[in-house]
Amino acid sequence: MSAAQKDPYRGYRGPAREVMKKFGITVWCEVRAKTTRGEFEGLVLPRSETSDELHLVLKLTSGYNVGIRHDTVLDLTKVGYREAHYQIPEKEFPTDAGHPEVKLLGTGGTIASRLDYRTGAVIPAFSPGELYGSVPELAEICNLETEKLFGVFSENMGPEQYLILAEKTGEAIKEGFDGVVIGHGTDTMHHTAAALSFMVQKPPVPIIMVGSQRSSDRPSSDAAQNLINATWAAGHGPIAEVMVCMFGPTSDLYNLLHRGTRVRKMHSSVRSTFRTLGDIPLATVEKGKLTPIKDDWLPRRDDKDVLVQAAFDERVTLTYYYPGMNADVVDALVEKGYKGIVIAGTGLGHVNRLIYLALERAREAGVQVYMTLQTLWGFVQMHVYETGREILELGVIPLANMLPEVAYIKLGWALGVHPDDPEKVKELMTTSVAGEVTEREPHDGYLIFQGGIPEVQEFLEKVWR
């Protein structure tokens, strides 16, 4: 907010700024504007920096904002000054000795947020006081301690942040917290969940990632329910794994706990975007009740033992294969010094012959190449067709039903952990560390219903309520 005093023309550039200067007006001035389109009265708001430089924004007493074009302005008269102070009401987060201690690590994202109307963007709000101010129910669940690690949006999370996050999670466990919640943007939440699954192994307490698909500046936001269920699962839940806690259905009913290595964001905007692929979710969480669905999860323990392996080699890539792919794509990666390539292949794990030679050259250069599936569901099966067998002979290693993004994260991690030992890397890659490869795919591990079909319609009419 102090920036407001520094720049009295916040967000205004070019002609709009000139008009303000000409009439001695700054942001937060209440003005009467005479224009070629008539008279307007309102409070001059800061302008979003991504908006054009031609208009002034006035907030009318009715609460509406309107834009006034600079060249319609005949006169601006200042009639008052009223600077807004935007803050979520901070209330001290009450503690209760009977409640579990939960650590909330913040990475950014929109679990709790407020509007920045300079940029029009949503900025995270995070302190326990702020969170308590907007989701008071949290105080009935746990004693909350928060730590803001980064203020980045999901798409800006990367290896550098994974390492810090893993270390901080490990520290929280060592400090004796009963659970760790990580607030995260949803776009790459499953990448980070995978990274934590490998970097923080066999934790004694739940590590739960949570975010929201509708930012919490909206009344219909999923943030509060997600946060409530995530803190509950972290503080009280019996499952001690890295998990994602997000909406089950699009309705405000219950959350699902997904294993960190089998979860994926599957829709750009719906609330129920996170799905467990090739398996079923671990549990449902709803209003203080956690109901396991699977039974092979790791239980909560009383110790503080945890294996933290925070390492990542960034010279790995994930290549999405397509039919016309040329060999030089692979060659370029090898030339640029990449040490590992994960291919998302077609069908059972295929690429065309055009790149065989390049794959061979990669092997000769010591670059490890792994095969995953762009079908997302199912196992890599390279013995079924001749193509597959040929590719195997080129040294490409199949990764069963590991999801492509998970394989990418795991390869970066494995190379980071064993920088000088390719065989160890291969062994690690082909061994399931945190449930990233399953032995069996249950019949209901793949469910994409086709809308419009009578029996699906009938099912939805019953279930979507």
């Binding site: 208009h55 979520i88 509007l115």
Partner: protein, 712 residues
């Protein structure tokens, strides 16, 4: 309500402009029924009203997605359940309405139908670009109201936590501000300008299906339809003026030809205040004719609330006497609330007995110095106690009714022994009143708080409320009146410039406003009433295309269209008067009018010829015209008709010579369907009657009532 509110008070909940400019209430003015109030009476109580007219626009798509607009369905393919939480406004305030609605803790259910709803309406997809067709219509309507157009539309979010919009806010954008339109109502002696405060473009909300306890259900077909909201200044000074204003604005919207018609397509909210009070908004009035009684009743409700306030002041009651309880169960934290379950365990009053057997909490709330006031009549059939129970109904959402009684209920309710025990428990005196409420524990706590909140608001007089219209003209509580704090910018949509080029394009094809049209028609020779009707009629364009000569022809055509088009439309549509009427094309009607102008048919023949043209679309117009050629003086049939009529008058039991002539004229003219000039016929009949020697003096009554064309 007034314009003098630019110095908005920074900490205040709403602009002081909501206050009626006259601060002294007319407490001594007697309660008069509707119909006995003169304009002077309304002036005496300081009645002021303004309108917010919501009009659906006739676009192909909804406003922020590409779902089809204007479909109404009952089919349900799926349901979604959501909750709403209040959020902060851009200026850092929680809105009062939002907080209230959060207290209600409703489960909100949306019924989805695949043809009318996509993931946008479900709040599962961000908005698409705003529908340009709708923007252009909104600009056109702003231009018709002479509003100042903004240069850039900013889509705002207006919070509604009642669930009527799944996002929890309505996307809305201001299009134009500060204008006026001519407001002429000769029957009310009104001839002035009506100020239009603003016009915004917004998405429509859901249709409510049911609201039971903590669950409210909505249908989503209407959700997201483009809608304009036109807001007038509170310048309508009688209920009749208000109705006329609503009518004018509806006509104005229809003038564009780009708005929807039919049930729910146009809805009015009214803002009402009286001297000493503040604006109250009544929502969702579908019929203009319901407005006058509604606002009359509301004016007196407000006056009576002001009387309650005055009496409380008189008794020295202050807000301090009615403290809202701290957090926690109010029966633990407030001396004004107690858990009455034990006291009433042996009651024979069924609602309370049933509540106790359900395990509900029954609590009593003391209202110090309220004796007599709970029975103060506020609306026909309602007392001040209803103000309280209605709040509880909406905010605490009790499932079982009734859920409240009080110490002033004359018959039924608790027995006096129980009231005495409660009085003792509170150490209450004869000047106090006690309210008893029952509901599940948490709801009972909310209810007890609301009793105190509403009682305290009695000290302010008129709480700032949005109320809902009942069919009988009374109204009930809907929500706390929202303030500007519930508006914040929509971060999902960029500002949309409204360049001069777009404005010029709209102006180039601007509909002629009804007042201009009316003036033009009066210049053509129509009287004021006919001109007013024609100016907003669906056949006005037809009239213009046919372009009748000024004077007689124009008058005849206007009259014929006004009478006959709705008649034929009704016939075709099977008596569905709300169905838009079919207007014939100008080609055929034009031939009729030219024939009239050329003297090929008589003015009286126009209506008949038009009837036939409308009823038989396949018949060639010249053939129709042949049948209505004027009858010549030497026509044999005419001579015969005259003589027949003259002969028959002898059998008439009619009182006067005048009556006889009238009957005879009718008998003759009827046979010739307006093909005759009545004057010569009259002369010939007089002669014929004289020859027959008819003497009508002995007879009484009867006969045709009207000489003339014999139409209908």
């Amino acid at each position: 309500m007034e314009d003098h509110n630019s110095d908005q008070n920074p900490g205040g909940i709403r602009p002081p402009g909501d206050l009626n400019p006259r601060t002294g209430p007319s407490l001594d003015f007697p309660d008069k029924p509707f119909g006995e109030m003169t304009p002077g009476d309304y002036e005496a109580i300081g009645f002021m009203a303004g309108l917010e007219v919501h009009q659906q626009l006739k676009t192909k798509s909804k406003l922020f997605c590409r779902c089809p607009a204007g479909r109404r369905v009952t089919r349900v393919d799926a349901e979604v359940l959501r909750h709403m939480r209040p959020t902060l406004s851009e200026l850092g305030e929680y809105d009062g309405t939002a907080l209230m609605e959060f207290k209600t803790k409703k489960e909100i259910v949306y019924l989805l139908e695949r043809g009318t709803v996509c993931t946008y309406e479900m709040d599962d997809t961000p908005p698409f670009e705003i529908d340009e067709e709708a923007v252009r219509i909104a600009i056109e309507m702003s231009e018709l109201c002479n509003l100042n157009l903004v240069s850039e539309l900013h889509v705002m979010r207006k919070q509604y936590l009642d669930g009527s919009i799944p996002t929890g806010f309505q996307r809305t954008a201001m299009v134009g501000l500060t204008g006026s339109i001519p407001f002429r109502v000769p029957s009310l002696g009104v001839d002035r300008e009506l100020s239009i405060r603003q016009l915004s473009l917004e998405e429509d909300s859901c249709r409510e299906v049911s609201d039971v306890g903590h669950r409210i259900t909505y249908r989503t077909d209407r959700l997201g339809m483009p809608l304009t909201e036109m807001v007038t200044e509170p310048e309508l000074l009688t209920p009749q003026e208000l109705q006329a204003g609503a009518h004018l604005l509806a006509q104005l919207a229809r003038t564009t030809g780009k708005v929807r018609r039919g049930p729910g397509a146009g809805r009015q909210d009214v803002n009402v205040s009286v001297a000493g009070g503040r604006r109250v908004e009544i929502k969702g009035v579908h019929h203009h004719r319901r407005l006058p009684l509604l606002v009359h009743t509301e004016a007196f409700r407000q006056l009576n609330l002001l009387r309650v306030k005055a009496e409380l002041e008189n008794r020295g009651v202050t807000a301090g006497n009615l403290q809202e309880p701290q957090e926690g169960p109010p029966w633990d934290t407030s001396p004004l609330v107690l858990d009455a379950g034990a006291v009433l365990a042996d009651t024979s009053f069924f609602p309370v007995r049933n509540a106790l057997s359900r395990g509900d909490t029954v609590c009593a709330v003391l209202l110090p110095e309220f004796a007599g006031l709970l029975n103060h009549v506020t609306q026909p059939g309602f007392t001040f106690a209803y103000e309280i129970s209605d709040r509880i109904r909406v905010i605490a959402c009790p499932v079982h009714a009734p859920f409240m009684t009080h110490s002033e209920v004359d018959r039924g309710g608790l027995i006096s022994r129980h009231w005495k025990v409660l009085e003792r428990a509170f150490s209450a005196g004869p000047g106090d009143a006690i309210v008893v409420v029952w509901a599940p524990k948490e709801d009972a706590a909310t209810a007890a708080r609301e009793v105190l909140i509403r009682a305290r608001e009695a000290l302010e007089g008129i709480p700032a409320e949005t109320r809902q219209a009942h069919v009988d003209g009374t109204n009930g509580f809907e929500r706390i009146l929202p303030g500007p704090d519930r508006m914040y910018p929509d971060t999902d949509t960029p500002p949309l410039p409204i360049p001069d080029t777009m404005v010029s394009e709209v102006r180039a094809q601007l509909a002629e406003p009804p007042w201009d049209r009316q003036e033009r028609y009066q210049e053509l020779g129509l009287d004021e009433r006919s001109a007013a009707v024609l100016s907003v009629a669906q056949w006005a364009d037809l009239f213009d295309q046919v372009a009748p000569d000024a004077g007689e022809t124009a008058r005849r055509l206007a009259g014929a269209l006004e009478k006959r088009i709705p008649y034929h439309a009704r016939k075709q549509n099977g008596a569905k008067p709300r169905t838009p009427q079919e207007v014939p094309g100008p080609a055929r009607v034009s031939q009729l009018v030219r024939a009239l102008e050329d003297g090929k048919i008589r003015p009286e023949g126009l209506v008949r010829a038009l009837d036939e043209t409308l009823a038989s679309p396949d018949r060639e117009v010249p053939d129709v015209l042949d049948r209505y050629q004027p009858v010549q003086d030497d026509d044999d049939e005419l001579a015969e008709a005259i003589s027949e009529a003259a002969k028959k008058v002898g059998s008439l039991r009619t009182a006067s010579e005048e009556g006889v002539l009238r009957w005879a004229m009718g008998a003759v003219m009827k046979r010739f369907f307006g093909r005759l000039d009545p004057e010569p016929v009259r002369e010939r009949l007089l002669t014929a009657l004289a020859q027959e020697g008819a003497s009508p003096a002995d007879h009484q009554g009867g006969g045709s009532n009207k000489a003339g064309e014999g139409v209908e």
